[in-house]
C-alpha cells in the first residue's frame, strides 16, 4: 500500500505544479445574490466575445461581499463587489483602513421588491405601505390610544382595514441576512411606519428608537422566514393561495403564469412602473470596483465597458430580459462615464 499512497501523492504534486498560477488572470467578483444574475450574464457574454477569461462571480450576499472586497489589495482579493444597497459608511471606512482607497461606484439599475400571491388566490390584493407595516411589524400603535405601542394585535388582514380580505396574515420572506429583506424593511415597512406622525417626529429626536419601531418584523409566525431561495417562496405561494411572498421583481417576471404582484399604494409592480419610479418599493443596485486592480488584473476596463453598454443595460438590453429595471438615459450616461474613466467615490 506504500505504492498506492506514493502514486497518489505524485499525481497530486504533478497536477498542482503544472498549473500553478502565480497571478490571477480572470476578474473576480463577489457580492449580492440579487445582482448575481446580472453580473453573471455580463460575465458570460464578456467571456465569449473577448479573449479574456470569463470572470468568476461568487454569490456571497451584499454584506459578505463587502467584507471580502474591503479586505485589501492584491490578487487574492476580489476586484468587484455587487451590492443590492449602497456601501455603508462602516464598510467604506474599513476599505480605507485596509488600503482600498479608490472605489468606483456604478449604479447599474433598479430592482422592485414584490409582494406576490398565487394566481389561484380568490381575491386581488391592493395594499398600502401602512397596511404592510401594520400587518408585519412587531409593535404597532394601539388603535385605541395611537400614541402608545402594543405588540401586534392583528391576526387577519380585515382587522387592519375592513376592505382587505378576511384571511389570516401570512407572508413568506427572506431572512435578515438578505439584502432583499433590508430593502423591504427600509422601503415598505418604514414607508408605512412614517405615516404615523408621532413616529415620524421621533426620527429627529431618537433615531435609534425610530429604527427599532419601524424595522422590527413580528416573530409570532405571521412572517415566515423562507430562506434565501426565492424559488422556494414562489413554490410555497402555489400551495398556499392566501399567503403573500416577498421577493425580487425578476422572480415575478419569470413566473408570471403562476404569480400575481400585489398593488402597493395603488401601483402594480410592472416593468414600466418600476422604471418610472411610481412603484414605491424599488431600490437601486450597484457594483463597486477597486481602482487599484485596474492594470493588475487584465480586462477590468473592457468588462465595465460591456456592463455599461446600451446593449447590456439599455432600455432593450439583454439585462432587462433578466429582470433588471434600467435607469433613465441621463443617469446611464453619467454612470457610464464614471465607469469608463474610473472616477472614484470621494466620500459617503
Amino acid at each position: 500500500m506504500k505504492f498506492n499512497a506514493l502514486s497518489f501523492a505524485a499525481l497530486l504534486a504533478a497536477m498542482s505544479f503544472n498549473l500553478q498560477a502565480a497571478t490571477r488572470n480572470y476578474i473576480y467578483v463577489v457580492g449580492s445574490s440579487t445582482v448575481y444574475p446580472f453580473t453573471t450574464t455580463v460575465a458570460e457574454r464578456f467571456g465569449k466575445s473577448t479573449d479574456f477569461p470569463t470572470p468568476k462571480v461568487e454569490s456571497t450576499g451584499t454584506g459578505g461581499g463587502m467584507k471580502l472586497f474591503c479586505a485589501g489589495i492584491g490578487v487574492q482579493h476580489p476586484d468587484i463587489s455587487d451590492a443590492s444597497r449602497r456601501i455603508k459608511r462602516s464598510e467604506f471606512e474599513r476599505c480605507q483602513k485596509n488600503g482600498v482607497k479608490e472605489i468606483v461606484e456604478i449604479k447599474i439599475g433598479y430592482d422592485g421588491i414584490v409582494l406576490g400571491y398565487s394566481r389561484k388566490a380568490p381575491h386581488a390584493w391592493n395594499l398600502s405601505r401602512r397596511h404592510i407595516f401594520l400587518a408585519l411589524a412587531k409593535e404597532v400603535p394601539d388603535p385605541k390610544n395611537p400614541g402608545k405601542l402594543i405588540s401586534n394585535p392583528y391576526h387577519q388582514w380585515n382587522d387592519i382595514d375592513p376592505s382587505l380580505p378576511a384571511v389570516a396574515i401570512k407572508a413568506y420572506g427572506p431572512p435578515p441576512t438578505s439584502g432583499t429583506r433590508d430593502a423591504f424593511v427600509e422601503l415598505a415597512m418604514e414607508g408605512g411606519c412614517k405615516t404615523f406622525d408621532w413616529i415620524k417626529e421621533l426620527k429627529k429626536e431618537d433615531k435609534h428608537r425610530y429604527k427599532s419601531i419601524c424595522h422590527a418584523i413580528r416573530e409570532d409566525g405571521a412572517y415566515v422566514e423562507a430562506g434565501e431561495n426565492d424559488n422556494l417562496i414562489v413554490q410555497k405561494l402555489g400551495a398556499d393561495p392566501n399567503a403573500l411572498g416577498i421577493f425580487g421583481f425578476s422572480f415575478l417576471d419569470q413566473n408570471i403564469d403562476k404569480i400575481n404582484g400585489a398593488k402597493i399604494d395603488g401601483v402594480e409592480p410592472t416593468f414600466e412602473n418600476i422604471a418610472e419610479g411610481t412603484y414605491p418599493v424599488s431600490r437601486p443596485l450597484f457594483i463597486y470596483v477597486k481602482k487599484a486592480h485596474v492594470g493588475l488584473i487584465p480586462g477590468i476596463p473592457q468588462f465595465l465597458d460591456e456592463y455599461t453598454s446600451e446593449k447590456a443595460w439599455g432600455d432593450e438590453g439583454y439585462l432587462t430580459d433578466k429582470g433588471l429595471i434600467p435607469m433613465p438615459k441621463e443617469e446611464r450616461e453619467k454612470y457610464r462615464k464614471t465607469a469608463l474613466e474610473q472616477i472614484p467615490l470621494q466620500s459617503l
Binding site: 497536477m15 498542482s16 453580473t39 468568476k56 461568487e58 419569470q254 403564469d257
Partner: protein, 427 residues
C-alpha cells in the same frame, strides 16, 4: 416424574401459538418498515427522474444562412471575432417570417434562438472554411422558452398576458415544427458546458470536474493518513494510556461534528493562514479531507479489529516482527474493509455543500478548470445555484444535475461493493 414432564409439555404447548404469532408479527413489522423505506425512495427517485429526464434532450432550431465571402473571408479567428453573426441569424429569422414587423415583434422573434447561436455559427464557420460562398442550413440551440414549449412545460390554456411565451411566438414555433425546423436532440451541451445564465446553455462540466478533482485530493490525503493513523492506534499504540484515549475520543467526536464547522476551519487555516487561492478544488479537497478523515480512521480500525488474533499470533510465532506482522498479514486482510470505509467516506464528501460555501465554491464559473488551482464548483453546489435561479428552464437542469450526482454516487458505492467482493477473504 412422568406427570411433571407432561405438565411442562403442556405449558410449552399452550405458549407455542403465542410465540409463533409474535414471530410472524415481528417479520411483518420488518417487511412494513422496508416497504415504507422503499416507497419513499421510489417516490424521491421518481419525482427527480420525472422532472429531470427531459433535460437530457434539448431543442435545436435550423437556421438558413448565406455565408457571404466578402464579409467572412479570411475565416481566421481574429477576423471572425469581429463579424456580426448575431445579425446573420436575425436576418435569417426575418426571412423565414417576412410578415413580422415592428420592434417588439422582432424582439420576440429573435428570442426563439438562444443567445449562443451567434457563437455556434462562428465556430461552425471556423471549422468549415470551405463552405464560404454557399447558403447553408445549420442547427443551433433554440431559446429556453421554445425548449420548454417543445417539452410540454408551457401551459397554453392560461390567458396570453400570464405567460412568457406569447401567442405569436407559439404560432411561429408551430410553423417551424411543421417545417421540420425544430428538433429535440441529445443534450451534449449539458455535459460539455460550464455554468451559464441561459438555461439552454448551462452544463455541468465545471461542477463535474471540480467534484472529481476534489475527490482525488481527498482520497490521496485521507486514505493514507487515515490508514496510518488507524494502524498505529490499533496495532502499536500503548493500551490504557491517557493520551491515546484522548485521541480516540476526539476522533469519535470529530466524526459527528457538523460539516459547516470544517468549512470554517478550512476558511481560517487554508485560506487565511496558508493563503491558498479561493474556490479551488485543492482547498475544497483539503477541507473535505478534514471531514472524511475521522470516518476513514474509524472504518479502518473496525476493519483491523475484524482480523482474527490467530493471524497475528501465528505470524509472531514464526518470528515475524510486529511491523512485518502488520504489513504482511494483517493489512492485506483488513484492506477490503478499509477501502469500503474510505469510499463511503468519500461518497459522503461528494454530496457536501456546507463546507464549500465557506471557501468560495458557490460561484459562477464558466471555463472548465485545468488543474487543482483553477476555480471550480462542485456538483451539489451547482444544484444549489440552479435551484435558486429564477428562469424556469433551470428546474429540469437542477433535477438532471441531481441525477448525475446520484449516478456518480451509485458508481462509487458499486466500486466499494466490487472491491470488497474481489478482495474479501473468508476463514
Amino acid at each position: 416424574m412422568n406427570n411433571d414432564a407432561n405438565q411442562t409439555l403442556e405449558i410449552v404447548k399452550s405458549g407455542l401459538a403465542r410465540r409463533r404469532r409474535r414471530e410472524t408479527r415481528f417479520r411483518w413489522y420488518g417487511r412494513i418498515a422496508i416497504f415504507i423505506a422503499m416507497a419513499f425512495l421510489a417516490l424521491l427517485l421518481f419525482s427527480i427522474l420525472a422532472r429531470g429526464i427531459s433535460a437530457f434532450q434539448q431543442t435545436y432550431i435550423a437556421v438558413d444562412v448565406y455565408l457571404n465571402p466578402e464579409e467572412l473571408a479570411p475565416p481566421t479567428p481574429e477576423h471572425l471575432g469581429k463579424v456580426d453573426f448575431e445579425g446573420l441569424i436575425r436576418q435569417s429569422l426575418r426571412e423565414t417570417f417576412p410578415e413580422v414587423t415592428g420592434r417588439r415583434q422582432k424582439r420576440a422573434l429573435y428570442r426563439l434562438v438562444s443567445s449562443s447561436a451567434a457563437y455556434e455559427l462562428r465556430d461552425w464557420v471556423l471549422q468549415h472554411p470551405d463552405q464560404l460562398g454557399k447558403a447553408v442550413t445549420i442547427w443551433v440551440l433554440a431559446g429556453s422558452d421554445v425548449d420548454m414549449y417543445m417539452k410540454g412545460a408551457v401551459d397554453v390554456s392560461v390567458p396570453e398576458d400570464q405567460r412568457r411565451l406569447k401567442d405569436d411566438q407559439i404560432r411561429w414555433i408551430e410553423q417551424l415544427r411543421q417545417q421540420g425546423r425544430l428538433d429535440l436532440r441529445f443534450n451534449k451541451v449539458f455535459f460539455l458546458n460550464g455554468d451559464s445564465r441561459e438555461p439552454e446553455q448551462a452544463g455541468i462540466l465545471v461542477a463535474f470536474k471540480g467534484s472529481l478533482y476534489m475527490m482525488i485530493v481527498t482520497l490521496a490525503l485521507s486514505f493514507p493518513l487515515g490508514i496510518a493513523a488507524a494502524i498505529y492506534l490499533e496495532e502499536f499504540a500503548p493500551k490504557k494510556n491517557f493520551w491515546v484515549d484522548m485521541v480516540e475520543i476526539n476522533i469519535n467526536n470529530l466524526a459527528a461534528v457538523p460539516s459547516i464547522v470544517f468549512g470554517l476551519l478550512g476558511l481560517a487555516v487554508f485560506l487565511g493562514y496558508f493563503g491558498l487561492p479561493r474556490s479551488t478544488p485543492l482547498v475544497g479537497g483539503l477541507t473535505l479531507t478534514l471531514m472524511t478523515l475521522p470516518t476513514v480512521i474509524i472504518a479502518s480500525r473496525a476493519a483491523l479489529t475484524a482480523v482474527p488474533p490467530s493471524i497475528r499470533e501465528a505470524a509472531l510465532g514464526v518470528g515475524a516482527s510486529r511491523t512485518q506482522t502488520v504489513f504482511h498479514h494483517v493489512l492485506p486482510l483488513a484492506m477490503p474493509g478499509m477501502l469500503t470505509g474510505a469510499i463511503i467516506g468519500m461518497a459522503r464528501a461528494l454530496g457536501e455543500t456546507a463546507p464549500l460555501l465557506m471557501i468560495g465554491m458557490v460561484a459562477f464559473i464558466v471555463d472548465p478548470p485545468q488543474g487543482l488551482l483553477d476555480p471550480a464548483t462542485a456538483l451539489p453546489v451547482q444544484i444549489y445555484l440552479w435551484a435558486d435561479s429564477p428562469e424556469r428552464g433551470f428546474v429540469e437542469r437542477t433535477s438532471a444535475a441531481i441525477i448525475v450526482l446520484l449516478v456518480f454516487l451509485g458508481l462509487m458505492n458499486l466500486l466499494a461493493v466490487l472491491l470488497r467482493r474481489r478482495l474479501e477473504k473468508r476463514w
